[in-house]
């Protein structure tokens, strides 16, 4: 059974920017817990829910909120920082990086291209012509999809 745990919306008033944060992670998900945090924070930054300069909770605070281990949370922040999505300013805390609109568009495109590339590869491996794959994509875009 899949278990999730929602971060409590506001457990104390000292938090900034994170109060609306909504992360759900599960130890039963085969995706490692740190990766679940990375994916969800990245999605929130790219979708604009988190804005450049927004403060993020400390590693230990986030670990306590998510009921995750400190090492897991540390690794998630390290990966997000390596991706250039967040920055840690010593003594001040961790913030969403100062990404320009172009940066965000480029990152969004990279994210989507990754998924599309997988779909294309899957289609080719099943023997579909590229034109057929393109047609299927158009069908999906048009909402004309029959999964049956």
């Amino acid at each position: 059974m899949r278990q999730t745990f929602l971060a409590p919306a506001v457990r104390d008033s000292g938090r900034l920017g994170w109060d609306d944060m909504d992360i759900a992670i599960s130890p039963n998900n085969p995706v490692p817990m740190y990766q679940q945090i990375v994916d969800q924070v990245r999605a929130q930054i790219l979708s604009g829910e988190l804005k450049p300069g927004d403060p993020l909770p400390s590693i230990r605070k986030l670990a306590a909120d998510l009921l995750a281990s400190v090492i897991t949370t540390k690794r998630a922040y390290a990966d997000l920082e390596a991706e250039g999505l967040i920055v840690t300013r010593p003594g001040l805390g961790t913030f969403v990086a100062d990404l320009s609109l172009e940066d965000i568009e480029r990152l969004k495109a990279r994210e989507v291209i990754g998924h599309l590339a997988n779909a294309v590869e899957e289609g080719r491996s099943l023997g579909l012509e590229d034109s057929e794959i393109a047609e299927l994509l158009q069908n999906v875009l048009d909402g004309r999809v029959n999964y049956g």
């Binding site: 745990f5 490692p32 306590a64 009921l67 281990s69 400190v70 090492i71």
Partner: protein, 243 residues
Amino acid sequence: MDDAVLQLCKISKAYPGFELKDVSFELPRGYIMGLVGPNGAGKTTIIRIMMNLARADSGQAAIFGLDNVAHETEVKRRIGYVPENHNFYDDMTAGWMARFVRQYYPTWDQNYFDALAARFEIDLGKRAGALSKGNRAKLSLALAMAHRPELLILDEPTSGLDPVVRRELLAELLDFMGDGERSVLFSTHITSDLDRVADYITIIVDGRIHDSDEKDALLEKARKDEPTASIEDIVILAARGEK
């Protein structure tokens, strides 16, 4: 490891029919370690040796870098210990138990204890013997945490508790970790508690250390073969002797 809060070095102890053999592991400061293994694997014996409630036949335990036998009083003042069976004076009230315990701890913080008791909804006027199982576990944890120890040693703290209370206790533990100066050693056979909160896992089977590593590293290794492997699966494989 330069800042190990706990270091066991080749601890051995033989009882009739049971042997703890060359147990070594380290817990770095600021992290939570789960000590897991089947019943009878030796978890409680290891903890009792750390607390100097049992003597090792050989080997050393250093806590905060100090020998735990030679510096017993100092070491114990900086530890919070929750034994497997909560030992209360059942005819006395929970509040009396707090006043009893506090006299042994110069760093006891009464405000913190009161805050914990309020958060745990423990009725301090109630006889300890009349508390529910969940409230006994919570009182035991509050008594162990109130002097703000650097190391909490918990022997099966969640055993016999319902999932709601277990979640509350785990959240409280993570809160307690605070600034990274505090550490927790947590023995349990309910490994799902550790899937979330443990930084390190030490697996003990049949009196011997099977593995001691970062939880994420252990899971990653196991999930190469089985994508949904949990700590429980790892322990079961270890107990079956499949290395």
